[in-house]
Structures are given as C-alpha cells and as structure tokens.
C-alpha cells in the first residue's frame, strides 16, 4: 500500500468511523450476543446461564413454534405470489400510454406510504363482518347462493386471508420498481416479436418476462423476507378485532399468531430472551434458506446472479 493509499484509507475510515461504531454497537454486537443468548437461560434481568441446546430442543417440541411457522408460511405463500402478480399487473397497465397516467401511478403508489397503524385501523373497518366494505361488496353477490361474507378477522378460517388481501394494498413500492424495469425493455424486441406475429401473451411470456426477470426476483425475495417478519398489522388487527386485552396472541384461536408475534411475546411478556434469541436465529436460517431457493429458482438456467 502506497503512502497515498494509506492516507486515503485513514481518511475513509475517519469519515465512516461513526457508522462503523454504530454498526458494531447496535447491529453486530446484538447479533453476536443473541447467538450466545440463544444457548442460555436468559431473562434479560438476571445473568445468563448456559443451557446448551436446550432452547433449540424445546423449540422443536413447541407446538406454538410450529403453528406460528405454519401461519407465517401460509401468509408468505399466498401474499408473495399474489402481491407479485398484482404489482406486475398494475405496472404493465400503468406502463401503457393512457391519459392521466401519472395520476394513476400516484394513486396506486399512495397506499404504500400510509403508516402501517393507520392502514390497519382502516382495514379493520373494511373487514368488519357487519358494516365493512368488503362484505358490503360480497354479500349481494353471495346472497343468491344463500351465503354471506365471513367475519374475516374474527373468524379463524378467514383471518389470514384477510391479512393477505390487505397486503395487496401496499404493492405500490414493488409496482414502481416493476415500472422502471418495464421501461428498460428494448422496444425493438417488441417490434421484432410483432413482425414475427407474436400475440400479446407471447410478447409478455417471451419478451417482457425474461427481460424483467431479475426485477421480479428482487421484488419477490424482498416480499418474502418482509412476509416472514410480518408483525405490526397482525398484532394491531387481531387484538382490535377480537378484544382479549393485552394478550397479543394472534386471536382468534391463534390463527394470526405469526412467527414474529410469538417471538415478541416470548421475549417481552414471558421474559424468555434466550428462547426468543433461538427463535430469531431459526427464523434467520429459514428466511435465508427460502431466499436462496427463490434466488436459485429465479436464476433458472442463466448464469447471472442478483
């Protein structure tokens, strides 16, 4: 390293030192410490006592761990593909040269900047079984068949689908990224496809999709990571729709007990920080594995990476 390079290194480190200290103190240390605590009987207030793999062993036998994992995978399994389809569909519509396109883009993007608590309160009313907009729309359609809309958040069978539907409200961010991707598809490819007699579906399947595949993969993986960490909406809405005081247990019947909610109540209500740390690491491994699988699938036979 030359003298000039050393000087540059010192300057660089100097300018980034605050960030490095912050990262080390508030991210790196907690990450490493929680790995240690995951092998301890630790309540945050008493000294940790090493208990080896006990927390991990208990997790495997904990019915709620599996239930919360199932609930989370159910949510992710529905919300990620649906969200991808809706965001991509909207982006394609808004990529067309229609009048007032900017206004539509703004309108579809706006929900994604509504604070989560505000949107949760709004959707609580939309999903109200008796007065909600959703059933106001569904009931006239279902009435000829002698059916009615469900109680949504108050019904264990419909509470998760309700949250999936709500998640579609926030696809604005993904939509904007898709729009950027769509605008980068070379127009000559479409022209060539049209000359070759390709239909609209064939143009989408063989031109649009392969070109924006990295964007789809990026959005899907980000959505997957976000879905695996679902917390605020479910936490707020399950309590508000079902009463039950301060239980924060994914009511009714733990149908919306998602992984992060169970982790939170284990850590901050039961004061089992060691167990919660083990849960956090398991979630990290599951999310990493799913992300790896998603990345592999999206790559297909191509050599490019994300």
């Amino acid at each position: 390293m030359t003298r000039n390079e050393r000087k540059q290194l010192r300057a660089g480190l100097g300018f980034t030192s605050l960030w490095i200290v912050g990262l080390a103190a508030f991210t790196a240390y907690p990450v490493v410490a929680s790995l240690f605590y995951s092998f301890c009987d630790y309540s945050i207030l008493k000294s940790p006592v090493w208990c080896g793999l006990e927390n991990y062993h208990q997790l495997l036998q904990d019915g709620l761990f599996w239930k919360s994992l199932r609930n989370t995978l159910f949510y992710a399994g529905l919300s990620v593909p649906l969200g991808t389809a809706v965001a991509l569909g909207l982006a394609m519509l808004l990529n067309r040269p229609v009048k007032g396109r900017s206004v539509f883009r703004l309108l579809f993007f706006m929900p994604s900047i509504v604070p989560v608590v505000a949107s949760a309160m709004l959707w609580l009313w939309i999903f109200n079984g008796e007065y909600g907009l959703m059933n106001g729309f569904l009931n006239p359609i279902l009435a000829p068949f002698g059916l009615r809309g469900p109680a949504w958040l108050a019904d264990p069978s419909w509470s998760k689908p309700a949250l999936v539907i709500m998640s579609l409200w926030g696809t604005g961010n993904a939509m904007v990224i898709y729009l950027a991707g769509l605008q980068n598809v070379p127009s000559e490819l479409y022209e060539a496809a049209e000359i070759d007699g390709a239909t609209a579906w064939q143009r989408f399947r063989h031109v649009t999709l392969p070109t924006i595949a990295p964007v789809v993969a990026f959005n899907a993986i980000m959505a997957l990571i976000s879905a695996m960490q679902l917390f605020a909406q479910a936490y707020i809405m399950s309590e508000a729709a079902n009463g039950n005081g301060n239980a924060s247990d994914g009511n009714p019947e733990r149908s919306t007990l998602f992984y992060s909610i169970y982790l939170f109540s284990t850590a901050f209500q039961d004061l089992r920080m060691g167990y919660a740390s083990a849960m956090a690491y398991i979630l990290f491994l599951i999310t990493a594995a799913l992300t790896w699988v998603a990345a592999r699938l999206s790559r297909g036979g191509r050599d490019d990476t994300l």
Binding site: K46, S47, D249
Partner: protein, 428 residues
Amino acid sequence: MTYWEKWVGFEGQAVQTVVDRFNRSQSRVFVDYYATSQIDRKTLVATAGGDPPDIAGLHEQNIATFADAEALLPLDGFIRAEGMSNEEWLARYYPVYARICSHGGHVYGGISTPAVMALYWNKTLFREAGLDPDRPPRTLAEFNDFSRRLTKRDPVTGRLTQVGFLPQDPGWWPWIFCRWFGGKLYDGRDITLATDPRNVAAFAWIQSFTKYYGLDDVKRLSSEFGPWASPSAPFFTGKIAMVFQGVFYDNYIRQYKPGLDYGVGPWPEAVPGITDFAMAEADVLTIPRGARHPREAWEFIKYVNSANAKAETFDEMSGAELLDFLQVKISPLKVWSPFFANHNTHPYIGMMRRLASGPNATSVPDIGIWQEYYREVISAFDKVRLLDATPEEALDYSQARLESSWKRYRRSLERHGQWAALGEAPPK
C-alpha cells in the same frame, strides 16, 4: 424522582393531583410524573439497561413475573423501618389487595388504583323483558334464565338483535369464570386448569351460550359491537343486557351513555353458599431494581398507600383516598374517611366496597408464568366459544402446554437459585 404511570385523561389528572399534593406536603422529595404507555415493557427494558424510573406503576399480574426476574426491589426493609412487619402493613388493605402486593413472602408493591368487577345490568331492557329492574339474578340458574329472557331476535329475519349475556364481552378475564365456578387455576404447586372439574364446567357454561344463540348469529351480532369505551359498545347500545365490568365502568357510562338506567350487583351465586364473589385487580406502585432514589420512592408509595382516616373535607383527604376519589373508584384500605365514604360520586360505591372487602374476592393467581397462562386461557376460551373444541379438549391442550412451561420455569428458577426460597413461601 421519576414516576412512570400508565394513566392519561382524567385519571392521569387525578394522579398528577396526588403527585402535586405529595410534592407540597414536604420539601425533600419532588416527584416528576410521566404518563407512559406499555409501561411493563418499557420498565423492563429500562431496568435491564440500568436506567429505570424510581417508581413504576405496573399491573398486578406483573408482580410475580417481575419479582422472579429480580426486576423489583422488595419493600420489606422500608416497611420494617416504619416499625411494622409485612403482615401489619398488609393488614391495612382489604385481603384481596394485600395478596396482590406480595409474592414469595415479600412485599413488592403498593396499590395505586384498585378495581373490583361486578354485574352491571340494563334496567330498561329488564323492564322490556318483564323482569324486575331492581332485582338482578341471584343464582347461576337465574342468571341463565334471565339471559335467555333478555335475548331477542328479529321477528322477520330471525337474526339476533339482543342478548342477555355474552361471555366474550369484554373478554378480558375469561379465567374468572373458572374461579366463579369454584375452580382453581393453580394450587400453589401445580397447574390445575384442566384437572379441576369446576374449570371444565365453567368452560362448558361458556360454550352453552354459543350453542344457544348459534355460532353464525353470535359472529354477526359481535360484528356490530364497537370498542368497549365508545358510544357503540354493546352494553351502551342495548345489544347486551348484562356484563361483568369494573368499578371504573361508571366513568365510561357517564361519558358515552349518560342517562343509561343501569344497576350494579354482586356476581350471582354460582357455587351454593359463595355469595358476594368478586374479581379484583389493581395497579401497583413498585420500585424497579437499580432505581436511583429507592428511599424517596418508598416515601411516595407510603403516601399513596395511606390516607387521612379523619378527613371530613376534600382538602383533608390524602394519598389513596384522594387518588381513588378523583378516579371515582374504591379505596383499597379497610378504613375509609367520612368524606370519602359519603361523598364518593360513584353511585354504587357501597356495593363495590362490599364486594372488594368480602372473603370471596379473588384476583389473578400468584404465579410467575401468568402471562403465558393468560394467553393459554384466552386460546382455550376462543376454541370453546367458537365451537372448535369441547371444553375438555381445549383445556387439556392448554394444561399440557402450561405444565411444560411451569416445569421449565421452575427449572430456570432453580438454575438461578431462587426456587428454594419461593417454594418455601406459604401459598397466598
């Protein structure tokens, strides 16, 4: 000295008034009151971080968990310094509140605001159903009968428009039905949720309401309920005729349904011979471990847990009575001053006092895994009321989970050298 407390609104104003009165009463200690949401979690994190408030106004269910986690300072030494034993100090409270203050043979808190739950009924709906509006149900059989007679359906659609009682409203204390039926949740050593047949009977009773009304009808009617503290709360809109609610409910009736013609009475007799059953709860003043001014904190706790028994005017009132008078609640202390007893604006203060002072008043079990226990009871309650499990199935599942949790919790206490001391403490 910093004091974190959960109250806002007029109840927060009442706390501030008491704090101001305390600050004026002496010149050595000045209390700063901070209204704090999610106080238990924030106190926990602040205590772990070594920067807790001097006083934390926690919930009674926090006492056992926080004490076992060594988050609270025992008050025994301060009480001794006052020339009293723990028993003498606690004897000043009604027994149910004395039990709330202590855990494992130590006193960990003083009462700030006590509550007692009673039966509230809508007299107008009683009249419409041909019932005597001044005579609440006295036995469980009468309660069930009244509930059916107070239930109405739309004559055309058959839809449920009014129910006599619904166990999930407000749904905060489903465990209390077990205690009401004479069941125990914890016998001082073991979890008895599913092993006590009286708990199973209570859950069967809970389920009987859904079976009688019809699950879909209940879901539809419940969707019409607004939040409990709003004008659209079912008791205020006349959709539910009877609820079990706290002493504080009168404040909300005044605010959201002024003029509501209602009565307050004891819980009907579910176990023959057990009259004046009541559920009590309380907020507690505690000193987190690591507080900078524990001695001064004790001075404030002592002030709020004492009263001028001779007060004949508002200005002469102090401590517990001043706070509870302003919050329109009962005092947890056995001795009430003439002014507090005679001028409390709660229309049923005498009934509330009778219930709180009785031998059959009960509160949450003194067990460190109560938060987990509570969640299990809520889960079983949901399964049963939604007809997804029989009472036996739901309680057996919860029992198995809780037994495992209790075993693990005890093992953790043993690891930290605490179980021996707790195990020797006499059950409350």
